[in-house]
Symmetry: C2
Subunit: 267 residues, 2 copies
């Protein structure tokens, strides 16, 4: 997506970022600065970054890009005038050759002039729209993380980047599922419409009660599981491709931007 004009500074979002930047808040960001877009992070050296950009172009549903920086540039003015990707996530994950090797609170000492940052849309934005419509988002009402699964749906590969689509699941009654499809269709930059609904086995999920990431949630007898492309996909694909160096956010520990969620609505 292209956020053409610099949004005005959002005081609530900036206050949250300042507490995170000062390492006063080091936990997950769910529920912070309600109404503002939160973003996933993928940082790669220039060579891999060029290929990841192509991968995200081919896979917009799991990798909806909100912003890409120039190499070495650690500010992201298009998402907020004060944003610094080195300090504004509560917690990071540092990967070397596909292995997780640290979870620091900032990455000032790891910064390099060849690093490119990808800020990637997050389902928090559309979940807010679902809640506003009165739809029960089960993992939120249950107070747990969303359940995520490696599916047998394949991403569109590039030369070195390939792998299965990771999907998140939210159980809903049929009427709510239909409404959720309408609502999330309006948010293409945060995963958009679902990729599957109904029988999990049709997309290779053999046990819906044992997610590959996150927590299991109850599916009631009158509910259908509804599956969306998930922002964990790029991390899973990068882990499989094993670039020599890579930094992501720690799951749930997002960047709070100055962009109102409503600005992501396509219609």
């Amino acid at each position: 997506m292209n956020l053409e004009s610099l949004p005005s500074l959002a005081p609530v979002a900036e206050q949250c970022r300042e507490r995170i930047r000062n390492e006063q808040h080091t936990g997950p960001t769910a529920g912070l600065a309600a109404g503002y877009v939160q973003a996933n992070l993928m940082i790669l050296p220039k060579d891999w970054a060029d290929e990841f950009l192509l991968f995200s172009q081919r896979n917009p549903k799991p990798c909806p890009i909100l912003a890409v920086t120039e190499p070495g540039q650690h500010l992201v003015p298009s998402l907020g005038s004060t944003i610094d990707v080195r300090t504004d996530f509560p917690r990071y994950r540092v990967w070397r050759n596909g292995e997780l090797c640290a979870e620091p609170l900032n990455i000032r000492d790891l910064w390099r002039d060849d690093l490119v940052s990808f800020l990637i849309g997050c389902s928090f934005s559309f979940e807010e729209a679902l809640l506003a419509d009165g739809i029960d988002v089960r993992h939120i009402s249950a107070g747990v993380n969303v359940p995520m699964y490696r599916s047998t749906i394949q991403t569109q590969a590039t030369r070195r980047l390939a792998g299965p689509l990771v999907v998140s699941m939210r159980p809903m009654r049929a009427a709510d599922a239909i409404r959720a499809i309408q609502i999330t269709s309006r948010f293409p930059s945060v995963h958009g419409a679902p990729v599957h609904i109904g029988d999990p086995a049709l997309i290779g999920i053999t046990d819906i009660h044992t997610p590959d990431y996150g927590d299991a949630v109850e599916i009631r007898p009158d509910e259908l599981p509804v599956f969306w492309a998930c922002g964990v996909t790029p991390q899973a694909v990068a882990a499989q491709a094993r670039p020599e160096f890579c930094i992501t956010h720690a799951p749930g520990h997002m960047l709070i931007t100055d962009i109102p969620n409503t600005r992501l609505a396509a219609l």
Copy 2:
């Protein structure tokens, strides 16, 4: 809906209507004048018509009104400059006290100054959009009538008009069902988005292979049944309410209007 400006005369639609008016074509209208809106008919005496208008306001999904005439007026210029409801349907059904008593090719001799005509949207318009998107519409590819069921979803009643929602069913793979929800959401004046997806028992359908109207169609193992509000609902409700006099079109024998289907798209 409000079709504000008189559309230009559509020669293909007018040619079809002329053959119907002259009783050269007396069969179903599926596939005729592709691209043009077709309409269901409900004609009621003024007293019942006032209540039916209220009923349709409360139940826009099964009763999407394209036009309502003044009492005694048998032309419908907002849908086509030459349209005459007394002659331009290939076949009619005449009901007295809720009983079907004739199926004439025109209703010239039955016309009265107190009759009000309701022209009601028809799923042909959104099916054309589904086919254009490459989605298999099973009853069309099988060459049969769409299967329809009395559900346990209740319409919003008026004083004398009440009854169950009649739904039509189209089986689809999940990805096509999601796409179909997006596409039909754009067509609120022809039933709009589905009302149910998945388990038929949840809306009181005990045997999906035995529809109450129309023909059964195959549901493949990787498909979900998707249910839309159906234009048969007003006929079923009127039959239950037993007005002393009522005229409808014969199922499948629709009015061809001058309105392009694309003009019904809300977005």
